[in-house]
């Protein structure tokens, strides 16, 4: 059970949050111009890293804001949290 530092609310228990999977996957601006493979890349392919991973999290039972989080999936250490649209930190 992590303690997550919501960029809007501060430290809260993990129970208030939900994880939205890998971050920085941008929805293609012109999906209709993509081949099946290119679309599948966006739709299905995820890195699922054992180690440092950039993830989307939502403060679902709080401010309901989405933000990004850098977490090491091997030991659950949280390296950083940052707002949507902000540049990812270098870890």
């Amino acid at each position: 059970m992590f303690i997550i530092n919501c960029p809007y609310c501060g430290e809260r228990d993990q129970i208030e949050f939900s994880c939205g999977g890998e971050a920085h996957i941008v929805r293609p601006k012109q999906p209709t111009e993509l081949s099946d493979d290119e679309w599948a890349e966006y739709l299905f392919m995820r890195k699922n890293i054992k180690g440092v991973q950039f993830e989307r999290w939502n403060h679902a039972h709080g401010c309901r804001k989405w933000f990004n989080m850098v977490r090491d999936t091997s030991n659950d250490k949280i390296h950083a949290v940052y707002k949507m649209g902000e540049k990812p930190p270098v870890i």
């Binding site: 059970m1 929805r27 679309w39 739709l43 659950d76």
Partner: protein
């Protein structure tokens, strides 16, 4: 005093007698006893039968590691509990305990026959045997296995006790109230840190509190005296909370820990029902100090499981803590020095004791102490067999060969009534590994010790692999100071004298003269797995420790292998010729000791189990005899039976009246999202498959929402209330998820859109009136309003006022009938509803529930997302191409609609099904086949909705069938258990395809 209560101690009050029963017979113990010490004081060792072979088994230990002595307590009461370790339960007046896993009685157990046939039931017996003949499985094997499965009896009544959850925060949490835990807690609390010390026993002190051996001296006092003073000082500290009878269940990441406190388990029956039985503490600690101690290892030799064979340090605890001698003619069998403390303690109380040691010598103080007392020691020897069926009577020993791999010389028989065994110590690394910590293997004494990495927790004392008293005190002091950033503590100048073990020797499986196949050297006592089983698993090709564990069930009993895991590993390593350190351990998972379900769920039982959502009209439904169904958390009226109607009869009547006269449905539970902002139309364009920009103000439109993968996600009618203002409805169950999904896209993909979302589901109540009479009823309710088709057409909305209260009327239909939905602020919902009923009386308005709603919409071929779809259906599969905009450049899921997989023509597609016999109603979920003779039979689809339609007077069904679009008119079959039902594929709109009724 009984024959075995040979000593007075400060921990058991021998002036206070406590009576209890075991297997129906009354016995006496004293206040301060555990059930185990009380049984032993009465000379009772045999308390249970083993799981597989039903061998007689006795008390083996004095704590949570106990594999054998588990019993059913308070049988035939609603407080009964199975699998209670007699070593952990504190004795109380009136306690009723009974043995488990034996029939007809503990002393004569039919299942004991398994012991005789044991050569035929090795590891994997069940997997190998019950494979054939196949037909035997259901009628013979399964009932037989079920009969012999499990240990105790589950309670049959609801648990009358209350369980509690509580959150706690602290600077330092110390786990374990032994000597190292006490030192740690004192250092922390004295330095102004809010500290919690938890201990699973009822008093602090661990094994040092009864250590009165003269070889263990702290500050010139016997270690037990010194520790007592420390404890009394500790209890005075302000910022320290001491929680006894509290055991750690789980150590999660970020120092989030669960601990279970026993509050009334030790109280007499008549005082139990006054409050909370157990409390689960959810602790968030800044720092955690684990001082969980170590568990003594057994030794693995032939017939090492007889009643009367105990762990050596447990024998010492029964003697020095409870004043009970486990036997009067003792033999101690050891590979290390610690068992000598037991020998000395027994000898000093005048009890006969001999020692068998696998080592060639030991030159420590405690061994010298034993030798000086004249205790007979058999060096370089091992036990090769034991005798006595229900209680040990004698043993046979032999000398060990030079390298310890074999036995030599003659067998030597020795009489005894108790055999204490000690195979060294295993540090309790469970907490450390649960928190994510790794382990190192220490070759010299063959133990896994924590490999310190975490900044947030440390391990101290014997759970860290420090076994000598001096190490324990000094290392604990130093580590805790460093961990908490403290320069000085009261323990810096302490002097510790202790016996130190110099000679170490470990043999995982002791040698024997008889071949392994004929010995019973138990490793896991509770699950009856032996060294032979482990070796068999290895011979059969199992290599991973995790696989061997599961195949042989070693370590999988209620004790979770606290005594057995290390020996299993050791024997695997020896047999496979690999180093134990490279083999690794099995995973230590929470909870450390079994938790009651009560403690886990806490107060979330009965009406607190889940939130119940009721509409504002709920009371009316109750008064009018509605039967309810759960839709998510909502209670929705299911049907309204009149005069003992059953579901079918009520639904037939409701459905008929809704089409012939008028029906009214409480639609308040539908999700409602208020959407505002200058980009609201553009937003809807992107989330729905159809176009929204041209929807006029005051108009309604049905929308279908997809996932990005093209599959139908939700649907509902959205109304344009103003230029930049919409009211979206969603399915009842999907409301929360739809809102989350929309927020996600708005915040992350399209932050440039000016759109605001507000959930207003609970803000409005909705009465939906349908049927040919609905317009008349509306006219009565709103006499000033023009309900003509020109003034108020289908798929439009108007503001209105009823009883001075503003409301919205939408002319939309989910039944195919002329239909109006009135939305009003929730607090006026019931009054609106009652007005509708009153106004509709003369038009035979009939309230109908969800079942009728489902039937009516199925007649019309309207889908229900989640019933006719399952996350694999595209709008094309549903034959809803009409709602997918070809002109829109993009919307969620658009691109996926022409992926190679989604354009396949043999996808499952929505069709209607008509049974050849119009009275035959298909079962929802039933499989559909096209050929009965071809084997294997190919399932080409399944029934999603099925009803008997009173309006068409025949059975109708919706189904999804592979390539169904092109199958109209084709004959298919629905195979049921006893028959095949013939069906014909039809259009899925069964009624009023021309949409005439909507303007009727």
């Amino acid at each position: 005093m009984t024959k075995y209560r040979i000593n007075k101690t400060r921990f058991v009050d021998q002036t206070k007698t406590v009576s209890f029963t075991f297997d129906g017979k009354e016995y006496h113990g004293f206040e301060g006893d555990t059930l185990a010490s009380a049984l032993l004081s009465n000379g009772i060792h045999l308390v249970g039968r083993s799981f597989k072979y039903h061998r007689p088994r006795g008390i083996m230990s004095c704590g949570s590691e106990e594999p054998n002595a588990i019993c059913q307590i308070n049988d035939n009461t609603d407080l009964t509990e199975p699998n209670v370790r007699v070593t952990e339960i504190e004795l109380y007046e009136g306690l009723k305990a009974s043995s488990q896993n034996c029939w007809p009685s503990l002393n004569f157990d039919i299942g004991g026959i398994n012991n005789l046939i044991s050569p035929f039931i090795p590891a994997g017996f069940y997997y190998k045997t019950f494979m054939w003949p196949k037909s035997f499985w259901k009628k013979i094997y399964e009932p037989l296995i079920r009969l012999s499965a499990g240990l105790g009896k589950s309670p049959t009544q609801p648990d009358p006790d209350i369980y509690d959850h509580k959150h706690e925060h602290c600077d330092v949490l110390v786990i374990g109230g032994g000597i190292s835990g006490i030192i740690s807690a004192k250092i922390a609390a004295k330095n102004n840190l809010k500290t919690i010390l938890i201990e699973d026993k009822n008093i602090l002190g661990g094994s040092t509190i009864y250590q009165n051996n003269k070889n263990f001296i702290i500050d010139n006092q016997k270690s037990n005296k010194w520790l007592m003073n420390e404890i009394s000082e500790l209890e005075k500290l302000d910022n320290l909370i001491i929680k006894t009878r509290t055991s750690l269940a789980a150590f999660h990441s970020y120092n989030y820990l669960l601990a279970k406190e026993n509050i009334s388990d030790h109280l007499p029956l008549d005082k139990k029902n006054c409050g909370i039985r157990q409390r689960l503490w959810k602790i968030r600690a800044d720092k955690v100090i684990v001082a969980a101690g170590a568990i003594e290892r057994p030794l693995i030799f032939n017939n090492n499981d007889r009643p009367g064979i105990l762990l050596a340090n447990s024998v010492k605890k029964y003697l020095d803590f409870y004043g009970v001698s486990s036997g009067l003619n003792n033999i101690i069998f050891t590979n290390n020095d610690s068992a000598y403390e037991t020998a000395v303690s027994l000898f000093e109380k005048g009890i006969s004791v001999k020692i068998i040691d696998i080592r060639k010598k030991s030159s420590s103080n405690i061994v010298k102490n034993a030798e000086d007392l004249g205790i007979k020691i058999y060096w370089n020897s091992t036990v090769v067999n034991t005798f006595g069926y229900k209680k040990i009577k004698s043993i046979e020993i032999m000398n060990l060969s030079e390298d310890g791999s074999n036995v030599t010389g003659n067998k030597h028989k020795i009489q005894c009534d108790c055999l204490s065994i000690s195979g060294g110590w295993t540090p309790m690394v469970h907490m450390h590994t649960q928190s994510g910590g790794k382990l190192d293997f220490r070759e010299i004494d063959q133990v896994f010790v924590p490999s310190e990495k975490s900044e947030n927790h440390i391990n101290v004392g014997s759970c860290n692999g420090d076994f000598e008293l001096e190490e324990i005190v000094k290392n604990t002091n130093n580590k805790v100071k460093k961990f908490l950033n403290i320069n000085e503590s009261g323990f810096d100048k302490i002097s510790v004298l202790c016996s130190k073990e110099l000679e170490k020797k470990n043999i995982w499986l002791l040698p024997n003269t008889i071949s392994e196949g004929k010995t019973k050297s138990f490793i896991d006592f509770q699950n009856d797995s032996t060294a032979k089983d482990i070796k068999l698993a290895l011979r059969e090709g199992f290599k991973s420790i995790e696989h061997v564990k599961r195949y042989t069930t070693t370590g999988m009993a209620t004790d979770q292998g606290k005594l057995s895991n290390m020996h299993a590993l050791g024997i695997i390593a020896d047999t496979a010729g690999v180093k134990m350190g490279t083999l690794g351990t099995t995973t230590f998972r929470p909870p450390f000791t079994p938790l009651t379900f009560g403690a886990i769920v806490g107060r979330s039982v009965g009406k607190f189990f889940d939130v119940v959502r009721k509409t504002s009209i709920h009371e009316w439904h109750v008064q009018n005899n509605a039967k309810f169904e759960n839709v998510g958390q909502w209670k929705r009226p299911w049907y309204y039976p009149i005069n003992n109607e059953n579901l079918h009869e009520a639904v037939q009547r409701e459905s008929k009246t809704a089409r012939d006269g008028a029906g009214i449905l409480d639609a308040s539970t539908l999700g409602k999202i208020d959407i505002q902002g200058s980009d609201a139309s553009e937003f809807l364009n992107r989330v729905y498959t159809n176009a929204w920009s041209k929807l006029g103000i005051g108009k309604c439109r049905y929308g279908l929402m997809l996932n990005e993968d093209g599959m139908v996600y939700d649907d509902g009618v959205t109304t344009r209330l103003g230029e930049n203002h919409y009211l979206m409805t969603t399915t009842t169950g999907g409301a929360a998820n739809v809102l989350s999904k929309l927020e996600d896209y708005l915040q992350t993909e399209w932050p440039e859109l000016d759109v605001y979302l507000t959930s207003v589901t609970d803000h409005y109540s909705t009465a939906s009136i349908c049927g040919p009479n609905s317009k008349k009823i509306l006219k009565k309710l709103f006499p000033n309003k023009d309900f003509s088709d020109e003034a108020f057409p289908h798929m439009s909305y108007q503001d209105a006022i009823i009883d001075k209260i503003e409301c919205r009327i939408m002319r939309i239909s989910f039944t195919g009938e002329l239909s109006y939905e009135i939305n009003i602020e929730s607090k006026y919902g019931k009054s609106l509803w009652e007005n509708c009923i009153k106004a509709g009386e003369e038009y035979k308005i009939t309230p109908y529930g969800t079942e009728t709603m489902h039937l009516l919409r199925a007649e019309k071929g309207f889908i229900i997302v989640g019933q006719d779809t399952d996350g694999t259906m595209t709008p094309i599969d549903l034959q809803m191409d009409w709602i997918v905009s070809k002109k829109k450049y993009d919307f969620i899921g658009k691109r996926s609609l022409y992926r190679s997989d989604t354009i396949r023509e043999d996808r499952k597609q929505l069709v209607g099904l008509l049974t050849d016999d119009p009275n035959e109603i298909l079962e929802e979920g039933a499989q559909i086949v096209s050929e009965l003779d071809k084997k294997p039979v190919e399932m080409i689809g399944h029934v999603t909705s099925s009803y008997f339609s009173p309006n068409l007077n025949k059975s109708i069904a919706l189904a999804v069938v592979k390539g169904g679009k092109k199958m109209k008119g084709q004959k298919l079959f629905v195979p049921m258990e006893n028959k095949n039902i013939n069906v014909t594929v039809s259009d899925f709109i069964f009624l009023d395809k021309e949409n005439k009724r909507i303007n009727a």
